[in-house]
């Protein structure tokens, strides 16, 4: 029994220390994000919009949409892009060998016509079959290629792109009219010091949208979706704002991010065989920046929003989370030499450890925590108290932070919300640690296993489509 004792104390200790670390880290990040947003809370954003809408001051951007079987949402997505308030941009849709009607829909809706264009292969990719150009919107192109994965599709887009900056957008994402303008703001303002920027990705399920304009925001009835919304708030708002300020960002969402074409090409483009190609690119860029000993930054901008579709069923969500975690670990492992390596500055000394410990291996510890609690309850006695301690720390970490994240988000966005929705999210936050959290932890551990076993798949997400389509009854 002494061994059991010893084990229990040991594991208990480890888990508790881990939880403390996590709570303190998150707490600090939260406070920091709060202070930063508070300062700019009432600032008139239209002032900047107004300046940078003039083509003279802004930099042209190529928007690349890698699409694989996106027939449900692609047309709406493109419509929202066409309505972007941005002086000069082009849209490049890369059809990565879709087996559904994605290509036909796009060709028909936007009256695409075949064109000949010699492309400079700045990044080696799979061959392109054909390029099309829209006859009604000449800045809109469609590139047809053989299936090669999202990373390859993006690289093709980069090769085709005409402009010095490119913005990667997912095929089911919808941008607001000022999204691109505001995302480019740090890049435009910094004279090339900022070479990449990621925007805020939020969940659109339940929103009523038409032709790229948001009509109504309704909270989805689906509990799973609501939980994800809360999760996104926590991740984006708290994590990324702080990391961004100190140039420690390792992940900017591929669903909505902007890069300097030159730097990406020099760093080698997206890596074809990786699952988390967006994170991989960011890590590669950081590595390359250090190698060239330049003072460049990669930032997260919380203001511009991209609306994306979240999985509504457990099965799809599971695949997504597994894939994300696997991708995360793959990228971290791929560049493991950067960990604790002072040559890579803050990224090596702070970001990498953070991501390894808290994001990467964290699920094991947390899951361990859950198991421990169950054990400890049964063992009773002093372990009972340890269990309570752990439980409380989970509550702090899970429930409290979630609620704070939701409130924070609602406050900072300054948009109308329904009180009922707010209360619903609050209540749901209470339950997170009892069902959502453990399940997602298990899935992430599955991702970990997969990483160890090296399996891979790209996106087989069911698509439902966010916008109201044929009912033009507004």
């Amino acid at each position: 029994m002494i061994i059991l004792d010893y084990l229990m104390w040991f594991f208990g200790g480890v888990i508790i220390i881990y939880m403390l670390l996590v709570i303190v880290t998150y707490g600090l990040m939260f406070v920091f994000a709060l202070l930063k947003l508070r300062k700019e809370y009432r600032l008139d954003q239209t002032e900047m919009d107004d300046t940078y809408i003039d083509a003279f001051y802004s930099k042209p951007v190529s928007v690349i949409i890698p699409a694989y079987n996106e027939e449900v949402g692609i047309v709406d997505s493109i419509h929202s892009l066409l309505s972007l308030h941005y002086p000069e941009f082009e849209i490049i849709i890369v059809n990565d060998g879709s087996t559904d009607c994605t290509q036909e829909l796009v060709i028909e809706h936007f009256q695409m016509r075949k064109i000949e264009k010699i492309i400079k292969m700045e990044i080696p990719t799979d061959p392109i079959i054909q390029i099309y150009q829209s006859q009604i919107h000449p800045n809109c192109f469609l590139v047809e290629k053989v299936n090669g994965g999202k990373a390859d599709a993006l690289n093709v887009g980069i090769n085709v792109a005409n402009y010095p900056y490119f913005c990667s957008v997912d095929g089911d994402s919808i941008l607001e009219s000022t999204s691109l303008l505001r995302l480019m703001k740090p890049i435009a303002l910094s004279d090339g010091e900022v070479i990449a920027a990621g925007g805020n990705v939020q969940i659109a399920n339940g929103m009523n949208m038409h032709l790229g304009s948001i009509l109504e925001t309704n909270l989805s009835k689906n509990y799973l979706v609501t939980m994800q919304i809360i999760e996104y708030f926590r991740a984006f708002l708290i994590g990324r704002i702080t990391l961004s300020k100190f140039n420690l960002v390792l992940i900017i969402s591929g669903a909505f991010s902007v890069f300097s074409k030159k730097w990406v090409v020099e760093a080698g483009g997206y890596t074809k065989s990786m699952i988390g190609e967006d994170m991989e690119l960011v890590v590669k860029l950081h590595r390359y920046i250090r190698k060239k000993k330049e003072n460049k930054r990669i930032e997260f901008v919380e203001n511009p929003v991209c609306w994306t579709e979240a999985p509504e069923t457990m099965a799809v969500l599971r695949r997504q989370r597994r894939r994300w975690h696997q991708g995360l670990l793959e990228s971290l492992w791929n560049h493991k030499t950067m960990t604790f390596n002072p040559k890579y500055g803050g990224i090596g000394l702070l970001s990498f450890p953070y991501f390894w410990l808290i994001e990467g291996l964290g699920p094991i510890v947390e899951l361990g925590g859950y198991i421990y609690i169950v054990f400890a309850f049964f063992l009773g006695d002093i372990y009972y108290e340890i269990a309570i301690l752990l439980l409380l720390s989970f509550v702090l970490y899970g429930v409290v932070f979630s609620i704070m994240a939701v409130l924070f988000e609602v406050w900072s966005k300054n948009k109308t919300f329904k009180v009922a929705d707010l209360i619903r999210m609050m209540l749901l936050s209470f339950t997170e640690i009892f069902w959502y959290r453990p399940i997602t932890l298990i899935w992430r551990c599955e991702g970990l296993l997969n990483f160890l076993v090296r399996r891979r798949e790209w996106g087989k997400m069911d698509r439902k489509g966010i916008s109201s389509k044929e009912q033009e009854s507004i």
């Binding site: 435009a188 702090l396 704070m404």
Partner: protein
């Protein structure tokens, strides 16, 4: 010890919950407040917009009802004024708005400048620039934090709009380091003559300012600025030369072709690219041999541009065909063919 920790955690959680509860109440209350304010603002705008139309567009009489009396009303009036100013350039209309702002909104902005809330201060400065409230310039100078770049920028913007001489003075002192777009914005408010004055002293300026100046002057001026720009073609800084070439291309006039020919052999591809573009403003007979040289350039972009410049000339089609027949450079042939094909399809 564990007991204590549990107690500690419990109290932390309790405090945070309390905090969240309060925050939630506050948010709900604040939201209601905002809604109400928005509604009131809308109502006020609806009520007064006709009056404003009459006052600003026609020669309506000035009535006291136009003067905003509460914060919400001031915000409403701001919205109305900005809608006018951002879309309309009639000097009389602008003047009316400026006068009104100077007389009736000055006090409000003066107070806002003193506010400790940073956003409010910045917004006030934005409006001072928008509404040309000269008298508050000294108030701005006093209240800004000179270490904050963004506030400094706004002050300089105000100078650039309202006290141009002072602006030129300050810029030449070079204590600033703004971004290039920042400088472009600042310079955009100046007249071409003033920009030319700055151009003469371009060496003193900060690098980003130099580039911004060249871009701005090329955008605003035409024949009158060519002299000044052409002098910069001999500058040591590569980027200055490239920008100058780009600016000259934008103006679209070549007076002395000899000045550009040396760039055909430049080691810097951007310069070769720019002359490939510039040559479209000279007759093909003079530029053809240089363009053909550029068509065989090692850089893809240069070749591409050279080809499209040739094809834009009426004799270009023929010339390209002859070129393809006589050259050995495969890349050049490919490029020429692509351009010819595009032209054939367009016809």
């Amino acid at each position: 010890m564990i007991e204590l920790s549990i107690q500690l955690l419990l109290s932390i959680i309790a405090i945070l919950f309390l905090f969240c509860g309060v925050a939630m109440m506050y948010l709900i209350y604040q939201r209601r407040n905002e809604e109400r304010k928005k509604y009131e603002m809308e109502k006020y705008i609806q009520k007064t917009k006709i009056l404003w139309q009459e006052y600003i567009l026609e020669d309506g009489r000035f009535t006291d009802t136009l003067i905003p009396k509460s914060k919400i009303q001031i915000l409403a009036v701001e919205h109305i004024f900005l809608s006018y100013l951002r879309n309309i350039s009639n000097p009389i209309i602008q003047q009316k708005i400026y006068s009104f702002a100077q007389m009736n909104l000055k006090e409000y902005y003066k107070n806002e400048l003193k506010s400790r809330n940073w956003s409010k201060k910045m917004n006030a400065m934005y409006r001072i620039a928008d509404f040309h409230i000269k008298e508050l310039i000294s108030a701005c100078e006093v209240s800004i934090n000179y270490k904050r770049s963004i506030e400094l920028f706004q002050l300089l913007k105000i100078y650039s709009i309202l006290e141009k001489e002072k602006f030129i003075q300050e810029i030449l002192l070079c204590n600033y380091s703004f971004s290039e777009s920042g400088y472009k914005k600042l310079f955009s408010y100046l007249e071409v003559e003033m920009l030319q004055r700055l151009l003469e002293k371009i060496e003193i300026l900060q690098q980003a300012a130099q580039y911004a100046l060249i871009d701005t002057i090329a955008a605003k001026g035409s024949m009158d600025v060519i002299d000044g720009l052409e002098e910069l073609l001999a500058n040591e800084d590569t980027e200055i030369r490239i920008r100058t070439l780009r600016g000259l291309e934008r103006i679209g006039v070549i007076r002395d072709l000899e000045m550009y020919i040396p760039f055909v052999d430049s080691t810097i591809w951007e310069e070769r690219l720019m002359v490939a573009k510039l040559f479209k403003y000279a007759p093909l007979t003079y530029t053809a041999e240089h363009l053909e040289k550029l068509l065989q350039d090692s850089n893809w972009w240069v070749r591409s541009k050279a080809a499209s410049t040739i094809i834009e000339d009426p004799r270009g089609y023929q010339r390209l065909k002859e070129f393809i027949a006589t050259t050995n450079d495969q890349y050049a042939i490919d490029m020429a063919n692509e351009v010819l094909e595009k032209r054939m399809r367009a016809v």
